[in-house]
Each structure stands twice: as C-alpha cells, then as structure tokens.
C-alpha cells in the first residue's frame, strides 16, 4: 500500500501540470457504468498521480443522498456525475463550478458533443451557453425485446393471423401494445410470460421516466418556447390525457402481476428471468443484456421508443460530470475532466460499457455496428426530451410521481383530472419560485 502510494506520488510528480498528488472522490449512482468508470479511471491515476475514490449510491437513494450532500455544502465529492435534472439547482444554488472558462482554456468545445446531451446535462439556463458540466454518460429510454421469441415460426404465424402484420419490433405505440397483449399470459417453454415490463415505481422518479415516453408521443410538452412556465392547456391537453390513458391501458393489459412499483432493476430482473417479452429501460442496461447467459448473445433485440400520434420522442437519461464547488481539490477535479474529454479516452469509455456523448465517438463509421444496440442508441438519442431541470425540480417530480401513480396504478379518477391536478401542483411550485 505504502509502495503504491510512493509510486503514485512519484508518477504525479513526473506528470506535467499536476503539482502534487490529490485524493479525488467521484460520486455517482451505483450501477454497471460506474464500475466501468472505475476501470477506466485507473489510467487517469497512472497518468496524473492523483488517487481516485468512488462513492456510489443505488439509484432509488441517489438523489436523496447526493442532494443532501450538496445542500449541506459537504466535501465528500470532488466530482459529481449528477442527474440531468439537478443542473438548475447545481447552478443556481452554487453547488457546481461554472465550466466555461475551463473549457475555453483547455480547448474543450460543447460543439463536439451530441447536442441533446449538452442541453440536457450541461446548460443552465437551458438554451444558453452557460455550462456547469461536461456530458459524461449519454442515456435514453428504449426498449429491449426477446428476438428469439419474436422469430419463432408458430408465434409469427399466430400473430400475423391475429393482427395482419409480421411480429416485428413496433413502429408505433399502438403496435407495441398489440405485441404486449399477444404475449400476455402466453405459455412459452412451459412458463407463463407477460407482455412488457414498464416503469411504475413511485418513490423516486420511476413512473415519470416511464410515462413521459407515452405522453411526449401523444402531444404533451412542458410549456412553450416563448412561455416556458405556461403549462395550462399543454401539460393537461386532451392529447396529453390520451397519452396518459394509453400508459394506463398498457399497465392494465400487459404487465406482469405485482409490477406496481417497478423501476430499472425490477424490469431487468423480469426480462432476464424470462418473464416478459419486452422491457422499457434506459440504454445503460444493454451491454448487460448482451452479456447475459439467458437473454444475451443474439437472443435480444433493441428498438427506440415507438412513435405516437403526436410524434416520436424518448425520455432522456444520462448525466454530466461537474466539479463540486465545496471541494478543496478543484484543480485536480478539473484535470480529471480534461483527461476524460479526450477522444481516445471517450472511445475507451464506449468500449468498456460507458455511453460516450462525444461526436467523434458516435459518428465514427464503425460505431453503429460496434454493438448490436449501437444503432438503437443513436436513433434514440436523436429523439430525446427531458423533464424539468429547474432548481425546484424535486417538487415538480414528486407532484408528477404522485398524480401519475395515483391514476395509472391506483386508478384514481381520470387521466384528465390527474393532469389538471398536476398543472395545479406545478403552478403552485412556480408561484412559490416566483416564476409566474
């Protein structure tokens, strides 16, 4: 240990630009990409001489734990890969270091990243060139399906007879529901299987991250470009209500029993254990699906969130990497970001299972065929929309979680009533915030 420390210090002393070895802590969610980043970061340690520690928190507690840390001015984290919705709070409450000068000084251009990730993970206020993070991990909600089941001739024939088309990845949400209905309760290899695993979780952000994939595609939006806080008639438009009804119908008709509080991990478990024909989930799971002995190795396929009557969109996930303002090691933390921004590092990031948002990586001619899910990732990233990133995003999120869960899962009232109440809740938040 002591030897390693001495070696690290020696390596650090030899590295240009790093005066002394620092202990850096990077905070993120506990999931597969985080493990990949640990692997990747050993190169940074070797190059810089700094020592990296990691603080990973499981997703359901991630926001609680990390926002507490930021709000209390804690010095646990030097680097934070925070959720995209935190960017407003991070900027306005002074939790994050503004990166513009650093980017300019080090030749890091936001034009080099997928535009949606820059808007989603780095900018505040949105649409302005004020950057508080560098896109670190591109992610989006998409669908995984049992390709091996879809290809079975007897199921193909039966589906065609019932629906008049081939059993293939759906192009529209209506088609997706048909397929889910087709599989619901069906016996496959002696096991009862179900249509689809969708997000229904209530405690953190689950059902919101799921239902928006239906709402957006039916016409729901978060206000207008001119009046971002004018939500009445948009959030609760008849089209949005139809989208919410669709999600409830999908939940009622085609999900496994007991899936009333499911999010990422439950959906993964249901899919890998052969319970469902399709699952909604963030793209980060795809490398794990491919590697799984039950459903990987060509048994699974991937498709972007299907279109609805109002267009085709998908819920943005992913995060940017920021430097925490309360850190005593800001220079070393910025050094890490500089290292991470390099195209060769970003390429390795993709190879170890991280979803790079750098154009140089995703626009590489070989990218789309580098993994079975790479093309779906690209297609999905082209249609993203994100939830509010206001400083009060937590209030807005909790209200949506409550209203949507009450309607979709508990069957409380109508879709229109749920969205009307959501508008009331959100207007109350905006009034408190002095936005309207």
């Amino acid at each position: 240990m002591k030897r390693k420390l001495i070696l690290s210090v020696a390596a650090g002393a030899l590295t240009a630009g790093s005066a002394m070895a620092e202990d850096l802590t990077l905070c993120w969610a506990a999931w597969d990409p985080a493990n990949a980043l640990v692997e990747l970061s050993t190169e940074f340690e070797e190059e810089s001489g700094h020592n990296m520690s990691f603080e990973f928190v499981p997703w359901p507690n991630f926001a609680d734990r990390m926002l507490n840390e930021l709000n209390s001015g804690g010095q646990l984290c030097d680097l934070m890969i925070g959720d995209s919705q935190w960017i407003g709070l991070g900027a306005e409450a002074g939790h994050y270091v503004k990166m513009n000068d650093f980017f300019d000084a080090n030749g890091i251009s936001m034009d080099d990243f997928i535009p949606a990730t820059v808007t989603g993970y780095a900018e505040w206020p949105k649409g302005t060139p004020n950057y508080w993070a560098m896109p670190a991990f591109g992610d989006v909600v998409g669908w995984t399906y049992r390709k091996d089941w879809f290809e079975r001739p007897e199921l193909q024939a039966e589906f065609k007879e019932s629906y008049g088309r081939d059993l293939a990845p759906p192009a529209t949400l209506a088609e997706l529901k048909d397929i889910a209905e087709f599989f619901q309760g069906r016996e496959i290899d002696g096991t009862t299987v179900y249509g689809a695993a969708i997000y229904t979780e209530r405690g953190s952000e689950g059902i919101t991250m799921g239902v928006t994939n239906a709402l957006y595609n039916y016409g729901f939006d978060y206000g207008t470009a001119d009046e971002p806080y004018k939500i009445d008639g948009i959030v609760n438009s008849p089209e949005a209500a139809a989208g919410l009804e669709f999600y409830k119908e999908l939940y009622d008709c085609c999900t496994p029993p007991g899936s009333s509080d499911w999010y990422m991990s439950e959906n993964i478990d249901a899919y890998k254990s052969g319970q469902v024909a399709m699952q909604m989930n963030f793209a980060f799971i795809w490398p794990g699906v491919e590697a799984d002995p039950n459903v990987g190795g060509g048994k699974s396929g991937y498709f972007p969130n299907p279109a609805g009557p109002g267009g085709q969109f998908a819920q943005l996930g992913g995060q940017g990497i920021s430097v925490v303002n309360y850190s005593d090691n800001k220079d070393a933390a910025l050094e890490y970001i500089k290292w991470f921004s390099q195209p060769e590092v970003q390429k390795k990031w993709w190879e170890v299972g991280g979803y790079s948002a750098l154009n140089a990586v995703v626009e590489d001619p070989g990218f789309a065929s580098s993994q079975p899910y790479a093309q779906t990732f690209l297609d999905s990233m082209a249609i993203v929309k994100d939830f509010w990133a206001e400083p009060a995003y937590a209030d807005l999120l909790i209200a949506m979680q409550d209203r949507v869960h009450a309607y979709v899962i508990a069957g409380d009232g109508t879709a229109q009533e749920a969205l009307d109440k959501l508008v009331e809740d959100w207007n109350e938040v905006f009034e408190d915030e002095g936005k309207i």
């Binding site: 007991g258 509080d261 209030d395 009450a406 899962i409």
Partner: protein, 315 residues
Amino acid sequence: MTDSTVDRLAQATPPTLARKVKGLSDRAIAWLFIAPTIFLLLAVNIFPLIWTIRLSFTNYRVNRPNSDVDWVGTRNYERILTDEDTWEKMQATAHFLISTLAIQVLIGFALAYLINKKFKGDALWTTIIVFPMMLSPAVVGNFWTFLYQPQIGLFNTVVGTILGTDPASFSMIGDVHLAPWAIVIVDTWMWTPFVMLICLAGLRSIPESIYEAAECDRASGWRQFWTITIPMVLPFLMLAVLFRGIENFKMFDLVVQLTGGGPGNTTTLTSIDLKREAFERWRTGYASAYAIILFVTVFGLASIYVKALNKVKER
C-alpha cells in the same frame, strides 16, 4: 441510615468544594444538580420545538441557504389544512391506526389468555410468538414484499390455495383495495406479540384468590371473565393501546419498505408525507407547520387518553 450516608458523603467532600458549597442554600444546590438536565432538555427538545414553530410561519427551504426567508403568516397551516391530499393521508393513517389497534388488541389478548392457561411447552410457544417483534422493521418489510409477490410469494400461494384462485390474480401491495390491509397484516404479525406480553403481565397480576372467591359464589366462567379478568386487565390493555397507537402514528420504515406509500397515495401515512415534504421537496417551512399539526394532534389525543387511563386505574 440516611443520616449516616449523608454524613459519610459530607466527610468525603473535598474541603475546597465544601467551602464553595457552604454558602449555597438547599434550593441553590438543588438547581445546581438539575441545571445540566434542564440545559440538555432545553437544547435538545424545547429549542428545536420553538425553532420549528418559528420556521412554520416562513417559506424557508433548507436547500436554498442563500434565498430570502419571508414571513408568510399562517399560510403554511392554511395550505395543509385545506389540502384534500393531506386529509387523504390523514384518513390512510387513521385506517392503519384503528385497524392495527383493534386487531392487535383482540389477537394479543386472545394469545395472552391462552398462554396464561399454563400448558406443556407454553414457554416455547411464548418465545416463538414473540420472535417477529425482535426483527428489524426494514427486514420485515423487505421479506414481506417477497411473501406478497403474486407469482411466487408464499402468502399469495396459501391464500390462492385456500380460496381456489390463481395466486397471480391478486396483488396485495399493488391493489388499491388490498394494499392498506397488506400493511395492517404485516404490522399485526410483527407487533401483536408486544400487546400479548403486556396483556400476559396483566393476567398474571390478578390474584388467584379473587377467582377462588368467585368460584365460592358460584360465578360462571363467563361472568368471571367479564367481571374480574377484563376490568383488571383493562389498564394494561389501555397501556398497550397507548404505546402501539403512538408507535403506529409515526409508522414509517415498515410501510416505506412494503409499499413506498402506494399504490397512488393509498398507503401514504402522514409520517411518510412529512418526510417527503421536509427532505425530498425541501419545503422546510411547510414541513415544520405539518410537523406542528401532527404534534398537536398526537399530544392532544394522548393527553385525553392518559386521562381516561388514569380514571380506569383509579376504579
């Protein structure tokens, strides 16, 4: 005896301290002794309470330390008390409280009555029955979610077999009608032993001679039960209800693990709602008002109940 102890202590007091204390009155010495306790009480209980009351009249948010804090009068209280959703959560809490208390008192007393009848292996059965309350609520919540799992859960399998239905046809924690009972069942499973132990203490405190006298008067078993057992156990039973009532009013961990407050808001108890307001939405002022309302409610109900308990004890 007391004098000699006092004398010994006086002799043992170092002369320097004795000189300092010599000029103090008994009252001053008494204050000297209780001052640290009073200070701690003020610092840990009273000051936070007063501070919470103060915050409840503001729009303070602990996650915005740089924002202005405005005095909003009684707006927070008005918002809470006129919010339909708050009353929904109050109703969910009342349902949980009343159902668990009623069922636990009935089953707890019945179990205590049986155990009190001294039979072979009664000690072993007592240990087995008491076992659930030794577990952590988080653990209990977690494993009951597996028991309630529609496809493989033991609970669903047993109920499905008894009723002759498909176990996967109902979801205890996903169904809006069943979820409130799902949390009642688990709390009852875990805490009925506590009520049983208190009842057992009450039953064992009844002198045998009273029953012997009743036997001599040819009182039937039924009459003995209603005129001796129940009145004499009642103070114990009421104490158990008080403890369980206070505990269940602030129930949090078990329900969060089981249902997370869902589906919808069906099992969102006031304590869960308060936590979300305070530490997820960060509406500190609003949450302070909410906490004060809950405090007054519990304090008021508990005071009335303790008065009734004292009356029963005096009978």
